[in-house]
């Protein structure tokens, strides 16, 4: 069994917006050279300059922060918001529901001293357990120190797993188990980069995937569930995209730690552990949509073949198979976990696995905001055939 070989310090530059409490936060003595903004420093131009350099924006005074003024790219900076304690949940919801709460995603966190307030808001906005940052201190200065200390610890993350050499299943098991226990929200996308990089990647992926999810769902009778399977689900970030009232989301992952974290994050969805043989524990033709997001490119060709074959088997005829994968090799490094495969080779592999019984529904190249080249591609296929069962 391999072990965590090293850890890697990511360059973290949180910016604290303290607003009316700026003096108290400065007096609290944050260690290091942190930027603390008061309520005069959030004019659009000044804020844009600060956010360009920030890896996390910690908002300690929500009531005076102009969330409405943030533009598209500025939302890529992960947020930590400290909920004010002096307002009733309904009042807080009325004030911040649209400009903030509904926009908080998987990479943003909510800090609060009030578990009842968290329960109320997290149910409504489907925030997950990994987004919850419980703090003891009510006073903004002390809360800032607590949050800063948590961020500092979280960013000392392990980055090398699986011992010498790269073996996909062992690597992703160890990585998942280690990160799910310590920093679950980091166990997504690229562990070598800061959360802002990953949040921007997620936004671009969501823009490509969500229309395909809607196309796969199509028009359905209200009481006919839409069965979805994600292979390599991690801590379940895509489950948030599906409505638990109409969609039945299932996730598979080789890491039991990840599966446990996903179950905590989305109790209404179903998550299962995927064994080393990579065979899915489901009957043929069980799902309307089967998809992966940045999973297959971490696997060898033989593992890809097994996964594709299983994905095709469990998809209902007429259902969709969707792949969002890297099809452009990045710069190789010792820590690289990508098996480069061009899009044409991948399509050949899919056609071979499905014996040609698929039609191409959508192709889209994806360039992430930080990249010079288009790196990823989305391919959506429809499975041909007649359903064996009604």
């Amino acid at each position: 069994m391999g072990r965590v070989l090293a850890s890697h310090k990511i360059d973290v530059r949180p910016v604290f917006y303290a607003g009316r409490y700026a003096n108290r936060v400065r007096d609290a003595g944050l260690p290091g050279d942190y930027t603390v903004l008061d309520e005069w420093k959030v004019m659009p131009l000044a804020l844009a300059g600060v956010l360009d350099e920030a890896t996390v924006l910690v908002v300690l005074d929500m009531l005076s922060f102009p969330f409405e003024a943030l533009d598209g790219n500025q939302w890529d900076v992960p947020l930590v918001v400290l909920l004010p304690t002096q307002l009733e949940p309904e009042v807080l919801d009325g004030m911040f529901g649209s400009p903030l709460f509904s926009r908080l995603g998987f990479f943003d966190r909510v800090a609060t001293t009030d578990a009842r307030l968290w329960d109320h808001l997290s149910r409504k906005y489907r925030w997950t357990a990994s987004q919850y940052l419980w703090v003891e201190a009510v006073e903004p200065g002390a809360a800032a120190l607590e949050i800063q200390s948590r961020l500092e610890k979280e960013d000392e993350v392990p980055t090398l797993f699986g011992g010498e050499g790269y073996e996909a299943i062992r690597y992703w098991k160890e990585r998942g188990d280690a990160l799910a226990r310590t920093v679950p929200h980091r166990a997504i996308c690229s562990v070598h980069h800061d959360l802002g990089f990953n949040k921007a990647m997620h936004r671009r992926q969501a823009a490509a995937l969500e229309p395909q999810f809607a196309a796969a769902r199509g028009v359905r009778a209200d009481d006919v569930p839409f069965d979805v399977l994600e292979v390599g689900t991690g801590i379940g970030r895509w489950a948030a995209t599906f409505d638990p009232l109409t969609d039945r989301f299932t996730g598979l992952d080789v890491s039991e730690g990840m599966v446990d974290a996903a179950r905590t994050n989305f109790p209404e969805a179903s998550f299962e552990h995927l064994g080393d043989d990579l065979l899915f524990p489901y009957e043929d033709e069980s799902f309307d949509l089967v998809f992966t997001a940045t999973v297959l490119h971490h696997n060898s060709t033989s593992a890809k073949r097994t996964l594709l074959s299983e994905m095709w088997r469990v998809t209902k005829p007429g259902g969709r198979l969707t792949f969002l994968e890297d099809f452009v090799a990045g710069a190789q490094s010792e820590s690289s976990t990508v098996y480069p495969m061009s899009v044409l080779d991948f399509v050949d592999l899919v056609l071979e696995t499905a014996a040609g019984r698929v039609t191409l529904e959508h192709v889209e190249s994806i360039r992430y905001p930080q990249d010079d080249l288009a790196r990823a591609g989305l391919i959506s296929l429809a499975k041909l055939g007649t359903p064996r069962k009604w």
């Binding site: 099809f327 452009v328 480069p340 192709v363 790196r375 591609g377 007649t386």
Partner: protein, 142 residues
């Protein structure tokens, strides 16, 4: 153009793979556009294809109405797929753009083929085949 405006490739392999990805996307878009263009164009073949698909949509609507009012309707509606077809073709208002309309017609044709394939299978296949209309549809689409 100043020299430093040019991008200097450092990884030929990555560029080749990116080129393949972009070319594949372009060829997909071209195929889709030309397909839609042909279907919406004025040539005789395109018009006949569109009219065939519209006929399939009409047949689908009539078949669903007939099945939905038959004694077997409760049994059929017990299956989610049948309810989905009813929702898609009987209960959803039209009002689509041209591209969406073509996609809808293509889907109707595919769904009709799948529905007929299911209907003519046992155990109810022989029963349905006694109806001339089902045999006609079978002849026309299967």
């Amino acid at each position: 153009m100043p020299e430093d405006d040019f991008y200097t490739p450092t990884d030929v392999d990555a560029l080749r793979m990116e080129n393949e990805l972009l070319a594949f996307e372009v060829s997909f878009l071209k195929a889709r556009l030309s397909g839609t263009g042909k279907l919406l164009g004025s040539s005789h073949n395109s018009l006949s294809r569109v009219s065939h698909m519209e006929e399939a949509e009409q047949d689908m609507i009539l078949l669903l109405r007939r099945l939905g009012s038959s004694p077997l309707a409760p049994l059929l509606r017990w299956r989610g797929n049948f309810r989905t077809l009813e929702e898609r073709y009987l209960n959803t208002p039209e009002g689509q753009g041209s591209a969406e309309r073509v996609a809808h017609l293509e889907a109707a044709e595919k769904d009709l083929v799948l529905l007929l394939q299911r209907l003519v299978r046992p155990p109810f296949g022989p029963l349905f085949r006694r109806r001339k209309s089902i045999r006609t549809l079978e002849e026309r689409y299967l």
